[in-house]
């Protein structure tokens, strides 16, 4: 399903962000990506998202070499991945509703369907009364929940989340993890970067650990 083949990435100033990274994830797996700050977790995601390319090595997703994807196909590739960014990447000039609806808008879904689906999602993350607020007005945790709702609204076959509980209290964190677990049990492949040892150990899922760009556990 996802296959990293000896992937290298060096940034200016000789920062080896990824150093011979090789691993593979099967369809339907639930994987944690851990490692200290600066280990290369976000870089792994950026490559999977075709935001960055490798200096060496290949990455296959569903048997497609994603570095040889035609440029015009990238948007469609991305729609198959629900991504929760470490810094949320919410649109600050649209409401919570519009932010969560964005992936649906992009695919040209009918208004009625968008309304129904998005309102359901907003209820689910407990932001019922705040649909028309600007993300600016949300607390850190609420922003994160919004980002998660947006990433899952299209029911993508892959969900990747970069530190999705960094801003959440314990209760919310478990709530979100349970959401991911549920999606996973319906067949969604899930990959989550996290520092939270309690969560990663209690969830008892597969852990891929990076340290200074090297895979030390897989």
């Amino acid at each position: 399903m996802i296959k990293f083949n000896h992937v290298y990435k060096v940034f200016e100033k000789d920062i080896k962000a990824l150093d011979d990274v090789t691993f593979s994830i099967e369809k339907g797996e639930f994987v944690f990506l851990t490692g200290p700050s600066g280990a290369g977790k976000t870089t792994v995601f950026n490559m999977l998202y075709r935001e960055e390319t490798a200096d060496m090595g290949t990455i296959f997703v569903e048997n497609t070499d994603i570095f040889h994807l035609a440029k015009r196909k990238i948007p469609f590739y991305r729609r198959r991945i629900g991504f929760v960014f470490q810094d949320f990447k919410l649109l600050f000039d649209r409401s919570i509703f519009e932010n969560i609806a964005l992936p649906l808008t992009i695919t040209g879904a009918p208004q009625e369907f968008i309304k129904k689906t998005v309102h359901e999602a907003i209820e689910k993350i407990g932001l019922g009364g705040k649909a028309d607020l600007n993300p600016w007005h949300l607390s850190g945790g609420e922003k994160q929940k919004t980002a998660i709702a947006r990433a899952t609204i299209l029911n993508p076959p892959f969900i990747m989340a970069d530190e999705p509980t960094g801003n959440l209290d314990e209760e919310s964190s478990w709530q979100i993890m349970n959401m991911f677990g549920e999606l996973n049990s319906k067949g969604t492949t899930i990959m989550i970067a996290s520092h939270n040892k309690e969560i990663t150990s209690r969830m008892a899922k597969r852990v891929i650990r990076l340290e200074s760009g090297k895979v030390v556990l897989s």
Binding site: E51, R72, P75, L91
Partner: protein
Amino acid sequence: MRWLKEVFLNFRRSGFMSLISIGTIVLAVTALGGYYLINESIAYTVKRVQQKVEVVVFLHDGLEKEKIDNIITEAKTLPAVADIVFTSKEDAYTEFLKDPDIAGIMKTFDGNPLPDSINVKLKEYSKDNINKIVKFFDSKEGVEDIQYGGSEIDNLINIINVVKMIAGAAGIIFIVSALLVVSNIIKLTVYARRQDIYIFRMIGASESFIRMPFIAEGIVHGFIGGLIGWGLVYGVVTILITQVRKETGIDLAEFYLFSPDFFNIKFMLASIGTGTLLGFTGAIFAQGRLFR
């Protein structure tokens, strides 16, 4: 539909950016429209003045009627000649006497000091045509003098040409500037919304989905700008005509370009078209760089 909605959303989000964009197009359309009007009006005026240019041929006293008729008949075959009118010295005298001032002077002479003359109207004004006519009459026996108002007009035309050259250069500079400003304003809009665009792209929006609103924005701004620009020119010209009539008694409205007909349909469409084209082109120009 979505694009139009985006344009309005964007206007709400950053109204004053949209206002500059529209304002710039208004300026450009106003300037181009004004330039066009002035240019055409000058051309029209020059043509009207040129139509009045005649070559006047003065004949020797006592040239026989037959010879005169021969010259006139032959002159009429010249391609440059539109019409020929013969004025006998008696007719000229009678004409002169009608003006009391001149009549006084005329009376101090004994007899009629005026010569017979031939007035030649040109088909089309040009130095070449005048030269041909002058050459023709110069070769004829019995011609005393040939006069034409050409030299002053040529001077005027020279000056007008220089003015036109400057105005033309200014016009080109203006179109280029307008395009630059419009495209840069849209670039600024793009720039101000780079985070949005980045997020859109991250989420999997197609390039056309991302780009279309900006092009729609250019077109809408261009349309609005063109309309306002037309309104401005229309208003200024209307005020101008009224004021000029009041101040100098000259009726500018008789120059066909200032006629309401022209204004109401063709010029409005041209202004809106120019504005829309400017907006569209500006938006296209804005695309290249920031979307790499």
